[in-house]
């Protein structure tokens, strides 16, 4: 049984229940129960109409949970014996579900958890494992999130930007357990792109595909990070790159630039270079300029300094870095790299070691420690 296919039915089944008058929190629980039941039953008895089956079972679970009247339930079960498809939910229903789960009243972690469950159809346990917290904690986070949005009307329009931020978080942050969060983020963004025509949704989908394409090359067999310049480009997924580039071109043609399109454009330029040496850094700097105009983010300016260092030489990169707050994450690592390229190996070694101490994740810390060790070993010879 294709679990992703099963889970892709989640939003429309949930929408049917909500349209029939079920409140969101109870409907969401009922749909979860139906998904669990499907995983149990379908391998033996695959339904003719999977969505109709899920709607029937979820609706029955909803009634079970909300009505104590056993006699009435039996009557309805008799009526519902043959699975019947519910009213066809519209694309707008799915879109509204995304809006609700990314509602601005939710904290980022709550929005992520609720989106993965109510839109993605993942179980609480799967989400808890993906974020390395106890299942009870995740269950509380989700039920609290549902209470937070309980007063929000389902038919209210939302801001697609909040949804994109949540999906970006799912893609970019999380551990790799049984659930592949990056692949899940791509699936959810693809599903979103199918129900709303928006260049930034396309931009985010392209960005994800272009980065996901490099995944196999990003880590060595021992789990250590392989920097972009040293990656074996033959291991990049050319199909994902082609799809990402195609989606990006379509979005850019609409002439409504946004930050995700600009980020995707940078990723596309990297993807386009047969070797690291052939990277079009001049164009990449131009895209960073666009991105800085769009977001005014210090992290963008930091990454721009790296690109300037490649396009115009390390001195220019260091000059671009000079104006930035040195408490920025990875500032020290960027400075170390630029000093090394500039030939100042002593400073570079010291900065790599300092950057390692400041690293926010283990893989990066190990990588930076190795860089410092590599330079220090040269001094001993």
């Amino acid at each position: 049984m294709d679990e992703a296919l099963l889970r892709s039915l989640t939003p429309s089944v949930l929408s049917v229940l909500v349209r029939r008058g079920a409140d969101f929190a109870a409907a969401e629980d009922a749909v979860q129960d139906a998904l669990v039941e499907a995983v149990r039953v379908w391998p033996e008895r695959p339904p003719r109409d999977p969505k109709g089956w899920l709607v029937t079972v979820a609706w029955r679970r909803f009634l079970d949970a909300t009505r104590a009247d056993a006699a009435r339930r039996r009557r309805e079960e008799a009526v519902d014996k043959e699975p019947t498809p519910g009213p066809a939910p519209t694309a707008d229903d799915t879109l509204r579900l995304y809006f609700l789960c990314a509602h601005p009243s939710l904290t980022p972690s709550s929005a992520v958890a609720l989106t993965l469950r109510a839109v993605g159809g993942l179980s609480t346990r799967q989400i808890a494992e993906a974020y390395l917290v106890p299942e009870a904690t995740m269950a509380q986070r989700i039920s609290r999130a549902k209470r937070t949005v309980s007063g929000v009307r389902f038919d209210q329009p939302g801001d697609v930007a909040t949804v994109l931020r949540v999906l970006y978080l799912v893609f970019n942050e999380g551990y790799s357990g049984d659930v592949d969060l990056a692949a899940e983020a791509i699936r959810l963004t693809r599903q979103l792109a199918a129900v709303i025509d928006h260049p930034e949704v396309a931009g985010l989908l392209a960005l994800m595909l272009l980065h996901h394409a490099r995944r196999a090359a990003r880590t060595a067999p021992d789990g250590s990070l392989v920097p972009l310049a040293e990656q074996d480009r033959a291991r990049w997924d050319t199909e994902a790159i082609a799809e990402g580039v195609g989606i990006l071109q379509g979005a850019l043609a609409r002439d409504r630039l946004g930050e995700f399109q600009a980020q995707a454009a940078i990723a596309a330029l990297h993807a386009d270079a047969p070797t690291a040496g052939e990277t079009d850094w001049v164009q990449i700097v131009e895209w960073y300029d666009e991105l800085a105009r769009l977001t005014d983010s210090p992290v963008v300016r930091l990454n721009r300094a790296v690109a300037v260092g490649e396009a115009d030489g390390p001195r220019a990169g260091l000059a671009a870095l000079a104006g930035l707050d040195d408490s920025l994450p990875r500032h020290c690592a960027v400075a170390a790299y630029l000093h090394e390229r500039d030939g100042d190996l002593g400073t570079a070694a010291r900065l790599y070691a300092e950057a390692a101490r400041k690293a926010a994740n283990l893989a990066e810390r190990d990588h930076l420690t190795r860089q410092a060790a590599r330079l220090n070993a040269r001094f001993r010879h």
């Binding site: 972690s109 992520v112 904690t137 609290r144 970019n172 790799s176 980065h211």
Partner: protein, 135 residues
Amino acid sequence: MAKYLLLKHYRGAPAAVNDVPMDQWTPEEISAHIQYMQDFAARLEKTGEFVDGQALAPEGRWVRYDGEGRPPVTDGPFAETKDLIAGWMVIDVDSYERAVDLAGELSAAPGAGGKPIHEWLEVRPFLSAPPTITE
């Protein structure tokens, strides 16, 4: 979505404001303290921010490898290098500010005279998984 360790240990930080050893408290004060800690953890479970909380025995042994085929050497405890780790709590929160707020609340646990202990707790971020998008 970041994990922090709230660590209760005695190395480097100044003494707590209400610095009376626990064995000098009244039994009711001890119960009130324990209740406060349990309520704090229970509240974090409800907000979906609790990951783990443990208390440690005050003393342990030092152990090191002693070469191929030999049993490990054990030694200590060494009173002069005492770095007592009393316990910890691991939280999963949306921001550093939230972690600091919670550590502040935990530090307000009542001690002698039913007054907050004001003890110093160390807030240490966990190293996370590497982000996918770095450029």
